[in-house]
């Protein structure tokens, strides 16, 4: 126990590592003396699974609830509703207490500077987690040095440094080492490379792929950068305004997006061919206010294919291909949308 080994696999490969069921987070707005203000529907009922050993990418615009979802999964904030099931056990029960769960799931934040305590040296930052879990300092520090080596930083040179003495890429490597210090089975990577410049970004991404194989990890990779997600993810989840718009294998999503929002997102990527450069944006305007989201389909206010049915009924997440699901009336047979097939499913 004191060596903090990797937690054993319980359910076998068929058991998804993480199941998220109907996860909801509404932030109350501070309004008026009696708190009768509205609520921000940051995450409004999302369901998905992460299989063992895969990388699930979550993409979406700013403010769509990606980061709230990651903090909910990390149990840093309390969900309004919904359940998180890790390797077959509900988080927070006697079978899987929160502290045990936290050893298994760790997180890397976007801001590499803000996520390191400026008063702790690099080795102390990395050793903090294992020491919290009962590992002595004499063991935690050598372990921190091993992890520094694993993320490509020479311990002799970096272990005693402070965060402000490191570059952005080096700091993010330290953050990854710190997240790995508890030997977790899953890493939540919340925009881990967004703040890095392009050359460093590629190095860190490739290192993450190496570490995944080395430590047998499962990744939840959150990003707004579609190219990055295409590079690292096995499956992709597209979020829009707190809900799942589409989820499916990365090849299938990028080759044949089903949801108009996913299509627009993919079309918004700059083309490498100057002759095919877009002159108009595929979608215009900002996402609606999550305090008062549109009725029915949340994307309908910006969707070029919206019809009456989109305002009156919320589209369910329907299967459109192998492991591929989209929440749009167009792909749901019998939904009443003019582009959907007639017969009911």
């Amino acid at each position: 126990m004191l060596q903090l080994p990797t937690m054993p696999d319980r359910g076998g490969p068929a058991q998804p590592l993480l199941i998220v069921q109907n996860l909801v987070k509404h932030f109350p707005l501070k309004g008026g003396l009696f708190g009768q203000g509205g609520k921000v529907q940051a995450v409004d009922g999302i369901d998905f699974e992460i299989r063992k050993g895969e990388t699930l990418g979550i993409v979406g615009e700013s403010g769509c609830g990606k980061s709230t979802a990651s903090r909910l999964i990390m149990s840093l904030i309390e969900p309004t509703d919904g359940e998180i099931i890790f390797d077959g056990e509900k988080v927070g029960t006697a079978a899987l207490p929160l502290k045990e769960y936290r050893r298994q799931v760790q997180m890397v934040f976007q801001d590499s500077y803000a996520s390191l305590n400026p008063r702790l040296s690099i080795e102390e930052s990395i050793a903090f987690g294992p020491m919290v879990h009962g590992l002595g300092r004499s063991r935690a520090i050598p372990r921190a040095h091993d992890l520094l080596t694993a993320v490509g930083l020479a311990p002799a040179q970096f272990a005693h440094r402070y965060p402000h003495e490191l570059s952005g890429g080096q700091r993010q490597r330290v953050n990854i080492a710190r997240a790995l210090a508890l030997r977790p089975r899953m890493l939540i990577l919340d925009e881990p490379v967004s703040a890095l410049d392009k050359s460093v970004e590629a190095q860190v991404l490739n290192m993450l792929l190496d570490l995944k194989a080395q430590f047998e990890l499962t990744y939840l990779f959150i990003s707004h950068d579609l190219n990055v997600v295409q590079h690292v993810a096995d499956r992709v989840l597209v979020m829009y305004l707190g809900r799942v718009a589409e989820i499916g294998p990365v090849d299938s999503i990028f080759a044949a997006p089903q949801h108009p929002y996913t299509q627009a997102l993919l079309a918004s990527r700059p083309s490498m061919d100057p002759d095919r450069r877009r002159t108009e944006p595929p979608i215009t305007g900002d996402p609606p206010n999550p305090v008062n989201p549109p009725s029915g389909c949340r994307f309908r206010t910006r969707c070029s294919l919206a019809e009456d049915i989109c305002a009156s009924a919320t589209p369910p997440l329907g299967t459109t291909g192998p492991m591929h699901q989209a929440a749009c009336h167009i792909v749901a047979p019998g939904s009443g949308h003019s582009m959907a097939s007639r017969e009911a499913a």
Partner: protein, 300 residues
């Protein structure tokens, strides 16, 4: 990924690969203070003053209470009385040295007490947030409704004169601003990702406060408290001046200023000497805390 020991590939132009041994935080602060002449001079002046007032019973030339009507209000430098004599013929230098003991005591003690109480409450309010924060901060606002001097005078007046009551009233006056400062610093630190990631490791609140919050908030709170020492000395002098602090014949700078004010026309320099002491001390404390704040900024 192991070829980075000589030149780090992602340093993006910054030379970070030179094997200079990294320095600890406090050593860096010390180094920056040593380069700051103003802070050094202020520190030296305060040290000299501290020496003079601490060892007053051994090095003071005369008795602070023994006067003589024959040598009342003698000017600075008069016949072995280096700084002259006061309205009762007592040696000014001796009385200033003894008076500093009280002035420093009533200047520093309330700040230390308020730093402890206000800092604890502020960090608690900032870290816990929610209802506790609301309770503490609204109570603080009530105290803020009164001007600090008025509040100190009112509390001292209600409790009656005396050095203990003066310290008590000033402690109460300094608690609200220290709560404010520590609450705002703690709130900003609490929302940083390193506190979040510490929570994500499963550390309890006590460990997080001890390892991640306190080391990052104590500096700014301490620097703010240092600026209050000057204010406190002036306030204590004010209370003594109004007769709410120490009682005559005990020497204290504020009270000496009070009793000597009648001599302002005959011996203007003599009458301002206690004021100069108060001025220099509080100025030095302010400049010292300014220098400390700069030295504690990691980005320098």
């Amino acid at each position: 990924m192991s070829n980075v020991s000589t030149a780090t590939p992602d340093s993006a132009g910054a030379i970070v690969s030179d094997p200079v041994k990294s320095q600890g935080y406090w050593r860096g602060v010390g180094k920056r203070v040593m380069r700051d002449k103003v802070t050094l001079v202020c520190g030296a002046i305060l040290l000299v003053m501290l020496f003079l007032i601490l060892f007053a019973p051994w090095i003071a030339p005369y008795d602070p209470l023994q006067g003589s009507m024959a040598r009342r209000l003698k000017p600075v430098g008069w016949q072995g009385y280096l700084l002259g004599t006061d309205e009762l013929g007592r040696d000014m230098l001796t009385r200033l040295m003894y008076g500093g003991r009280f002035s420093w005591f009533v200047g520093i003690t309330p700040v230390v007490c308020a730093f402890t109480i206000g800092g604890t409450l502020g960090v608690l309010a900032g870290f816990v947030g929610g209802k506790i924060n609301m309770l503490i901060m609204r109570a603080t606002d009530v105290f803020y409704a009164f001007p600090s001097v008025l509040l100190a005078v009112a509390i001292s007046g209600a409790l009656g004169p005396g050095i203990f009551n003066a310290i008590l009233s000033m402690t109460l006056v300094f608690i609200p601003p220290l709560i404010r400062v520590s609450e705002s610093v703690t709130t900003s630190v609490r929302n940083l990702d390193y506190v979040e990631s510490a929570r994500a490791t499963g550390a309890n609140s006590f460990t997080i406060v001890r390892v991640h919050v306190l080391p990052n908030v104590l500096g700014p709170i301490f620097v703010y408290a240092t600026t209050l020492v000057g204010v406190s000395m002036i306030l204590a002098s004010g209370l003594s001046f109004l007769g709410l602090g120490v009682k005559p014949p005990t020497p204290e700078w504020g009270m000496m200023l009070n009793t000597l004010r009648t001599a302002i026309y005959s011996q203007p320099l003599l009458a301002t000497l206690p004021g100069i002491c108060i001025f220099v001390t509080s100025l030095c404390f302010n400049l010292l805390s300014d220098g400390l704040r700069n030295a504690m900024d990691v980005r320098n």
